[in-house]
């Protein structure tokens, strides 16, 4: 039916396809935190204040869509568990998150005054113009050189998580 054309995961429009994967508030917040290096179910739950069933649903959607991958680890008691790591596709969501941050700074306000978030070139500590080009050294930053400064949480910038190495499929 033609009505489904623009919202289908296989739509011709890449904005429609991307929106069918990440057009969800919880998905964007999970991907923000995964980008900051968060990997564990309990950490997402406590940071986001999200109900278990909603978190499980969204992590499942992100696994199915290939933005996160499950990696086994052993917890303190030696029990086998899984953590959720960014894939290359998940790491590539960074420009979307940076664009959302810029829009949010420009067009919305925090309830309490807060210093703005900044996207930094960690090599020299300066802001990245268009979230890519260092305003100081002019170089285009590669992922390992990009940090987020979120002053309301910490005065120290946080280096972005690397994508997990994925097994060949």
């Amino acid at each position: 039916m033609s009505g489904q054309r623009s919202s289908h995961p296989g739509a011709a429009c890449p904005i429609a396809r991307a929106s069918s994967v990440v057009g969800d508030r919880w998905i964007l917040l999970i991907m923000r935190n995964a980008t900051l290096g968060m990997t564990r179910f309990d950490a997402f739950r406590s940071e986001l204040g999200i109900a278990d069933n909603i978190l499980s649903n969204r992590l499942g959607r992100l696994l199915d869509a290939g933005l996160l991958t499950r990696v086994p680890y052993r917890d303190e008691s030696g029990r086998g568990r899984h953590e959720y790591r960014l894939t290359a596709a998940g790491a590539d969501l960074l420009p979307v998150l940076n664009a959302l941050a810029a829009w949010g700074e420009a067009h919305t306000s925090p309830a309490e005054p807060a210093e703005p978030m900044r996207v930094l070139h960690s090599v020299c500590g300066h802001t990245l113009d268009a979230c890519r080009f260092c305003e100081n050294c002019g170089r285009e930053a590669v992922r390992g050189e990009i940090a987020w400064l979120r002053p309301w949480r910490s005065p120290e910038p946080v280096a972005l998580a690397d994508a997990a190495l994925e097994p060949a499929r």
Copy 2:
């Protein structure tokens, strides 16, 4: 309650604030079409195949959040109606939409083969690098010079809609 901290519209994090406004598939599709110049309820409904009540809800949220504004017009029969026009805040969502398009092209596939969407510098017809800088003339494109080429719909690029002039508040 601390659990609501990251998802609140007034959160310190601008990504959380932006996600609370645009973290929704229908909202992103409506804003895509508004960016292409669509303004009327019936046009959104038929293009997106969206139910009336869902479309009304999302347009209401976009009006409340200040991304769209209602502008009166008279239809063919002289009846007073309203159309929905981008505000400056709505027009500023372009980098988010462009980043979604780039991610969608890179990491999802259309059901039927389709030529990729391109963000063009309409002045010279070349692709914009990082959706901003012309790969041909090197200039940074301003909004009035940016067009979207969506080859599965038309061989002609579509100039992006301007923001409506808004009354001073």
